[in-house]
Symmetry: C2
Subunit: 66 residues, 2 copies
């Protein structure tokens, strides 16, 4: 299942890397793409619970899911 | 000797941390303050050569000294 999350607050390459690392840190995610321009994160996962964990991991880094 | 460098390109806390780390990495620097709002780095050093090394270290992180 492809999931696209809109993420507010990423301003630079360091932010992009921090969000990438957050998503990678949640088991069950793959094909992760972080776009600064589009302010979004795209990834594949097999279940909805993983999506919720990803949202939390991104928010824990100080970014907002919108 | 207090030195103030104007730094362009810092957008977030990660940038601030990267610049702080760059200045800390040059021996002979102390009392380092990085200000995102003022777009500047302040530090003390005893010689001009150290200032040049600090400029290079910051530029190596992808920021411009103006």
């Amino acid at each position: 299942m492809e999931t696209i999350l809109k993420v507010e607050g990423m301003t630079c390459g360091h932010c992009k890397a921090a969000v990438m690392k957050a998503v990678e840190g949640v088991s069950g995610t793959n094909n992760i793409i972080v776009s600064l321009e589009n302010k979004e994160v795209t990834f594949n996962t097999s279940n909805a619970e993983t999506v919720e964990k990803v949202k939390e991991a991104i928010e824990d880094q100080g970014y907002d899911i919108v």
